[in-house]
Subunit: 222 residues, 3 copies
Amino acid sequence: MVPYLVDLSGVAFFAASGAMAAGRKNLDLLGVVVIALVTAVGGGTVRDLLLARHPIFWIADPMYVYAIAGAALVAVPAVRLWRPPASAVLGADAVGLALFAVAGTRITLEAGHPPPTAVLMGAVTGTAGGVIRDVMLNDIPVLFRGGPLYATAALIGCTLYLVLAGLGVPTAASSAAGMVAVIALRAVSIAFGLGLPVFRLEDGRSDADSDGGRDRDPDGKS
Amino acid sequence: MVPYLVDLSGVAFFAASGAMAAGRKNLDLLGVVVIALVTAVGGGTVRDLLLARHPIFWIADPMYVYAIAGAALVAVPAVRLWRPPASAVLGADAVGLALFAVAGTRITLEAGHPPPTAVLMGAVTGTAGGVIRDVMLNDIPVLFRGGPLYATAALIGCTLYLVLAGLGVPTAASSAAGMVAVIALRAVSIAFGLGLPVFRLEDGRSDADSDGGRDRDPDGKS
Amino acid sequence: MVPYLVDLSGVAFFAASGAMAAGRKNLDLLGVVVIALVTAVGGGTVRDLLLARHPIFWIADPMYVYAIAGAALVAVPAVRLWRPPASAVLGADAVGLALFAVAGTRITLEAGHPPPTAVLMGAVTGTAGGVIRDVMLNDIPVLFRGGPLYATAALIGCTLYLVLAGLGVPTAASSAAGMVAVIALRAVSIAFGLGLPVFRLEDGRSDADSDGGRDRDPDGKS
């Protein structure tokens, strides 16, 4: 029951963030719903395909499609009336990232795969929906834009979950700790402009730029 | 037998539309065939992967690969001699969309999944090949360009098929009705410039633009 | 054992080529590793998904993830110190292409699928990682850029392997012949600027341009 609600919440958060992000492009109403849907189910679908978990979570249970369409259709007028700041998109996205990353790690581990694969699959589950959304909209995926930590936050949160679970901490507590770590890392790195060193070659300088792209794209989304 | 011929025809129509569309880019001959292939089998492949239907329809049966390569190789010189109007590309694409969307709905339903999923999977089957083609060619997918109805036509046609089949109308008749609805909706919306309202935020106006993008891209393809 | 080492080598070559290619974009360190990973496992993952081979090769065995991350992390500082010429990227990529294409053909054939499908799946296995990498980085995929032979080299090498294997030549020898053919075709077509005729429509000339794009992009990568 709890995993079901977690999955459903992750889907709704990602759908809302997708719909808000889509509002920045000139999409028609169906396009907004499609982007919300792709953002919301993309990560879990890639996870289920890679792990051969069938039926894929949203196919057997129409509740997911309703939750996604509902979240998108609520988000669209809300966005038009309220003009959400970029931080609202980022916040919804961070919660979706945290829920999906930790759930992806747990599911991969329960399927009997090795811990490094589980951490990797957690990051894939958390980030693939956003990557597919960005590729479809012809943007550089959020993963590659430099700036604040994104997949790194997911990797660290998933590793924390894994270590705590391995030490015998109950699932609920270790999951919560992992998710809080993801959200906190994401929030702190956005607030303080922290990022991984950027690897530059093209401009003729071969030294890593360690400001993490602080001066470009401080909100990690534009 | 009939589903087989329908699938094979859908593949050939999509392959021809893909090859004609590829003629507008500077691709080499293999590139044209690859685009035809991706357009033709993309939607059904995504459907089969999501529903775990193996072997995937074109893998076990080389007839599909021959049909695709044949349609592409006929379309290439035909395009060069005949210079098809944009309407020829659109027409071949609409027939492929109709065949695949209704077939996708029927197959999903027969696999025991709920009706809302079946309609959604019909739209996915009909549109995914074109989306993958556009993403590979670095274009904004046809789905997101505004303008005439595309996925919406597929959703309505699939719903019509589902309702008729649920009322006990024989498969051949309900499928035909669904396909005619898809093609008719697509043709009418192209002819009269009908589309869903576009959702604009970026330019500072927050009101939906209800002309459906009539003035940009009237043929839905450029 | 040999297939395992071949797969692992293919992964490492592709990872190194991916990391070197990523150095030309402003990616952060994780982005470089992600691009290396996607380039390295993309083709084999698509193959395994399409053929329903589970567990997918890199999921059950963390050795692959280590090999990829290791190759990427060695390639990054190496690139910074050494400034590899474009030919180093091309060379690593050609070896990966050859290893994966022939392995993909062999695996598809062993799974009982028809020979035309096996050749096609070999080309898919060899090229899909690079296509996914290019799509993620918002580039036109290498497959569609015209210029030197790429997928064509894979198709010819896979066909050679298939014919030799069908004539009873032992697997090791027929595989080696197929791989050498791929690498040689790729090298020769880059060195001499050979390519397939380009199919042009847009500029109003309808005649195929048979110089194979010799004057643009001689190294097939920019």
